[in-house]
Homo-oligomer: 360 residues x 2
């Protein structure tokens, strides 16, 4: 992850070339071509205590063109390798959905987008690289604001620089920003917030200046390209990441996916920020700050019990907060602090919690 | 709508001042204070054939502090007038949700956000101005890209200029962009597209250069601030607006709300672009371009019948397209053109349809 986006794309292209050569070599030698990759089956997904995230185990699977059952996914995977190589060469990006439809231009069949998404994930496992490295992005995008200068690697914009404090509504974290070089920043930390409303509040109240911070709107559970970008800010610039969510089990889990990843992406270890800290809003905060609340729904309660048994939540603090949720049966939103004033969350809550989390 | 955002805010503040003075005057003269506004009841919402949009009729409603039933909404409305005046003076914005929680800081009760949203709409009707004019925004935001230079009026950024072709992922249309002055542009038209994926495709394929166009991602049914911004581009700069949506009844309706507004916002006539044109994807296009399709769902069919009876759809072209949807029972997505190639929609479909629509 330390390597630059441009270098990473070059590495992916090299890997794709090797993959292609291997197929040709097998054919030329009269062997049915086959590929091998880590198994992503549930049995092979294990929680790594040291990395504090899910990883794939040692089992590997083969896909051989000799096996009639393998032939379809084998062909789809090889086509995808060809297609993304073309994307990189042409400096284009594609959405997950575009991939599904594009296959038809080449006579490759996917019965639905779920099937093409599956093959895209297979290629990630095969190469050990995130699809962002081969130009496939989701639709959803979130935003960033603050004093950081980036330099585009996007065709037509190569070498152009932009400071992300210049547009107060924030900069979309799309393909161009995801792949930009991070040139310099005065920032000392990153705040990742769950909602656009709070993001705007933070910008208006100058959190970026008061805390020398970058502010990221995750727009709910962040799209993977945003997790990828948060990791880059953390790893390449050494910035600590603090996460602010609504006080409910789903909010907690937004933090947890940023910090410890998801089982779905267990085959990639480069999407997490293991040192990210959850500032809140915690279940305890609802009591401490006497926040307006609503009752947990049955679904919230079910989710809280699930999380209690999730290995990512073994830490005592998370267990305690889940217990408070279940005992008090209350949830609250980030906007609830407006009960005191629009400035309260920035001027009072934020410094309180930063202090608390640093003492953990 | 021709006046600048800064001038509009000053006008709103003047209106709020007059409202406050009226209340004081009534109290000082021993009269129970009351306010009057256009009725937003269904009976008073009529379709204006000339404006081609819903408008409120002539009925007006009174809210008197003498009437025990009126006292609650009367107090809420007056508080809101005070609160948004404070927002404007302090150069802050608020989300709809923030307003709900902020009320508690002042001892004003709303039983839920639906109730505060209702009062926010009442204030719009009372002033005849959109809530964007008094700094209340939704959470959702969409994006724009292209050669247009804007000048911020946002506190801390006043007078700073930005060219919106500098960030290829697009610029969020949030409070700062919504209220920026539109300084200059080389653009000759605006393409409003329903999806982030297509937005990125358009930027990558240089639609902004090939067509001298601004590209707007409406992110589904556009948030009102985006409709407001599209109208500004149309009215202040004289740019024609072309809308591209998925080929289904819901997609058509994205176009229709941009062009003709919604019954919900009948009390505001300044959110529409009456001259906006729907490029497609039409029901007929699914056949013409042999697009991959899926069957209409029962819900789609129900929606199509509703639209057939909607006065905004009286135009022959819309009736015909709704009939094709119902007869063929097919829908398709914008991404479906990738069946031919990723460039097809830009290089072939777009010029075809621009020609077709100009001949209408």
């Amino acid at each position: 992850m330390k390597s630059s986006p441009t270098a990473r794309k070059r590495e992916v292209q090299e890997m794709l070339k090797v993959l292609g050569e291997k197929i040709y070599y097998q054919i030329e030698n009269g062997v049915f071509p086959e590929i091998e990759m880590p198994s992503r089956s549930v049995k092979n997904i294990v929680y790594d205590e040291k990395l504090k995230q899910y990883v794939v185990g040692k089992n590997r699977v083969k896909r051989s063109s000799k096996n009639i059952k393998h032939l379809r996914p084998f062909t789809q995977t090889i086509w995808l390798a060809f297609f993304v190589d073309k994307l990189i060469r042409e400096g284009k990006t594609s959405t997950l959905r575009d991939v599904y439809y594009s296959a038809q231009a080449f006579g490759i069949e996917f019965k639905d987008q779920a099937e093409s998404d599956e093959i895209i994930t297979d290629l990630e496992a095969l190469l050990g690289r995130a699809r962002e490295d081969y130009n496939v992005y989701p639709e959803e995008r979130s935003a960033i604001y603050g004093d950081i200068t980036i330099e585009y690697t996007t065709p037509g914009h190569e070498g152009k620089r932009l400071n992300l404090a210049s547009h107060p509504d924030g900069y979309l974290i799309g393909p161009s920003l995801s792949t930009a070089e991070l040139v310099e920043t005065s920032a000392k930390m990153v705040f990742a917030v769950e909602k656009g409303g709070l993001f705007t509040r933070f910008v208006e109240n100058k959190v970026h200046e008061k805390y020398n911070a970058l502010i990221v709107d995750t727009a709910g559970q962040p799209p993977r390209s945003t997790r990828y970008f948060l990791r880059r800010l953390n790893q390449e610039l050494g910035l600590p990441v603090y996460v602010l969510t609504d006080a409910d089990p789903y909010g907690m889990h937004i933090y947890m996916v940023i910090a410890s990843g998801s089982a779905n992406a267990a085959h990639l270890t480069e999407l997490t920020v293991p040192t990210a800290k959850w500032l809140g809003v915690t279940a305890t905060d609802i009591e401490t700050y006497r926040l307006p609340y609503v009752r947990l729904t049955d679904e919230d309660i079910k989710r809280a019990y699930e999380l209690k048994n999730d290995p990512r939540y073994r830490d005592e603090r998370f267990q305690r907060e889940l217990d408070v949720f279940l005992r008090k049966q209350k949830k609250a939103e980030l906007e609830a602090f407006a009960k005191y004033s629009l400035d309260y969350i920035v001027d009072k809550y934020l410094p309180d919690k930063l202090k608390e989390v640093k003492e953990l």
